[in-house]
Assembly symmetry: C2
Homo-oligomer: 404 residues x 2
């Protein structure tokens, strides 16, 4: 009987694997657990009252736009609002090139389905965002893995690859405060990358969920803005953004700013996927943002997450159980830092001991499409307060001591 359905699984879906992060999240809901595992916003900052007011507005003033079927492209006023929002960053694109998606995760899924055939080469940073690897599991790309350092993607390595004649379907990059490492592509590399895209006809998928969350310093210029400055329109870069880290992930509202040649195909594809993103979520997001909520709210996020990043850096600096040679990134923003243990250490084995100590993180191998990264791990600092962060790092130290 069991084979009734399993005999019929499509080739692309046969190799699907579950996400360690999602499985971990299930383990880490106990109140005694300190979790650095998820990429969760701080719940105490959710603007619940403002969103309740926006929801009441939307249902009273625009019940049809909130409850009826809507256009696949997204709720018009929200698309315009997003066009203005990204326009402030230099991503000046017409509103009809802005599409609303169910979070940027859906944008990744759509781009994979549109652009990846089985075995097709796709260039990614290594390590890279686990959710992209999951989105593209059923498309079965061949990953071209590019190294990153403190200044983000190694653009020399990319140039060498392109110069060798390889033509990836696209390069996928998290350009600011990368997930999982927290590093940001340096300004001069940004310009060079867009120049390389033009020279070698390389499409770029820029995923930028964290760019607004900088703690000191300033907003990096998106690759999409550089592309538009150079070429007068979105040409080489598809840009993905989201409200998940800026307001609330539960809305599932993100966006794609796409070159014109992609817009119609993305819309046709999305029509088959879900008809359109939730009207209510879009209307609530629109009414909230129209009233300036993002401008009021993002500074709160920056202040709180900046403190938490500092707390984690301080805790790591003073934790004596970390083996000699352990190093970690010092992100200027975002939600994650990346810890590298000495080469002989194994973060998955450490996790088993850490869970016993009631602390969780994500082992780095998960983010490596080619395996590798066994001695690395990702730590989230946005979800826990400073005392919990200090205690959590102490527990990781304790788990390391058991090992020693």
């Amino acid at each position: 009987m069991d084979s009734l359905w399993t005999d019929r699984i499509a080739a692309g879906a046969l190799g699907m694997r579950s996400s360690a992060i999602r499985d971990l999240l299930k383990l880490t809901t106990q109140p005694t657990m300190i979790s650095f595992a998820g990429g969760l916003p701080a719940p105490e900052l959710f603007p619940a009252e403002e969103l309740a007011a926006a929801s009441a507005h939307a249902l009273a003033e625009a019940p049809l736009a909130t409850l009826q079927y809507g256009p696949t492209e997204g709720f018009g006023p929200l698309r315009e609002l997003v066009a203005n929002w990204v326009g402030r960053l230099g991503i000046r694109a017409p509103t009809d090139q802005v599409l609303i998606t169910a979070g940027s995760q859906q944008g990744l899924d759509m781009l994979g389905r549109l652009l990846i055939d089985p075995g097709a080469p796709v260039a990614v940073e290594e390590p890279t965002y686990l959710g992209a690897l999951q989105a593209w599991q059923t498309c079965q790309p061949h990953y071209l893995r590019l190294p990153i350092d403190e200044d983000g993607l190694d653009v020399d390595a990319l140039e060498a690859l392109l110069a060798s004649g390889v033509r990836p379907r696209f390069l996928y990059i998290v350009s600011c405060f990368q997930n999982p490492t927290g590093v940001t592509l340096a300004p001069e590399r940004r310009v060079r990358l867009v120049e390389l895209a033009a020279r070698y006809q390389l499409p770029i998928v820029e995923d930028d969920p964290y760019g607004e969350l900088y703690y000191g310093g300033q907003r990096s210029t998106p690759l999409a803005a550089i592309d538009i400055a150079m070429h007068g329109e979105p040409r080489y870069v598809v840009y993905l953004g989201t409200l998940s880290k800026l307001l609330a992930p539960g809305l599932r509202v993100g966006w794609i700013v796409a070159p014109r040649t992609l817009v119609d195909r993305l819309v046709m594809l999305k029509q088959g996927l879900d008809l359109h993103t939730g009207s209510m979520a879009q209307a609530v997001a629109y009414y909230a943002c129209r009233d300036g909520l993002l401008d009021r709210h993002i500074p709160r996020l920056r202040a709180l997450y900046g403190e938490r990043r500092d707390a984690m850096l301080a805790a790591l600096a003073s934790e004596r159980a970390l083996p000699v040679g352990t190093r970690w990134t010092r992100p200027d923003g975002g939600m994650f830092l990346w810890l590298t243990l000495p080469a002989e250490d194994d973060a998955e084995a450490l996790l088993a001991r850490a869970l016993a100590e009631q602390v969780a993180f994500v082992p780095g191998r998960q983010f490596h499409p080619g395996g590798g990264g066994a001695n690395t791990l990702r730590l989230n600092f946005s979800h826990s307060g400073p005392p919990q962060i200090a205690e959590g790092v102490r527990r990781i130290g304790a788990a390391l001591r058991v090992h020693a």
Copy 2:
């Protein structure tokens, strides 16, 4: 430059076509247009105040469940509520076999990606739901087209197909008040269909968005309930349901009740698609339904849509411009009826003239995966009031007269 992206379109996505319905919907937003084209619920019945109250409750009482990332499977209390809701119909399945989707459209997309390889045989009614054909465009199935009559799917034709040795990946069926024809699978055919599924090991995807919307008569027993009654658990039938027609499509909340062997794979797939369905929409749906909104609201829908169905049947019966030999279905529920013109007539040509008369419908060819159905058309009766329905049918008559 244009070829930068278009050269990289994946094989499955090359043949995508836009939906005539969606394109038409854009044309039919003018206030003077009477549209029988969309499958839109009556906006005047949207329970906006009740949903505003549910939204306020959700954000005040459960801000985390409403705003934070949630489980891919869906919001636990909503899954339980859905399990109870479908349990009343005899679909008695454990809560962990109920998954929340972004409308049933996403369920169709997920099942296609999971079960269809290019060229794989998939059995469908002809005509069938256009949204399913769109969802599976990139999967490129080979459709095995089965005739339907006033009692729904011709089960003899299916049996002949199966007896000939063909093994479809699954049969897709809209079992109640089918979209587009409005016909319902007769009770004795339901039992025979599930028996055939068991005899020939045929998986069935049962799409049931309209089953609660009966106007006289009673609720048909879902195939899924018969499957469970015969086999003690969901075995041959995957069941798709949605709140889109019962509360509001803008929520994008639907569900899948799946055989156990499919559950994990559906969850893994959905994780890559959008992580999870919108938390806010799920929480609002839960708080609204927990307070009994469905039991209060569905009778209102039945009363109003029943009147409108009657209005459309009456208008058609008295419209003298319909050519001799024109026939139409008399649905016992749902949102659509199906009109068949004499064989020499062409509904697409008629539509062009009808739009000039300010009335819209969907030509039947759209619902025929094999082409055909040129002389048929789908009329929606849920969205317009009786006077508009009478006037719209009169305008169709006028468009037919221009032709004659």
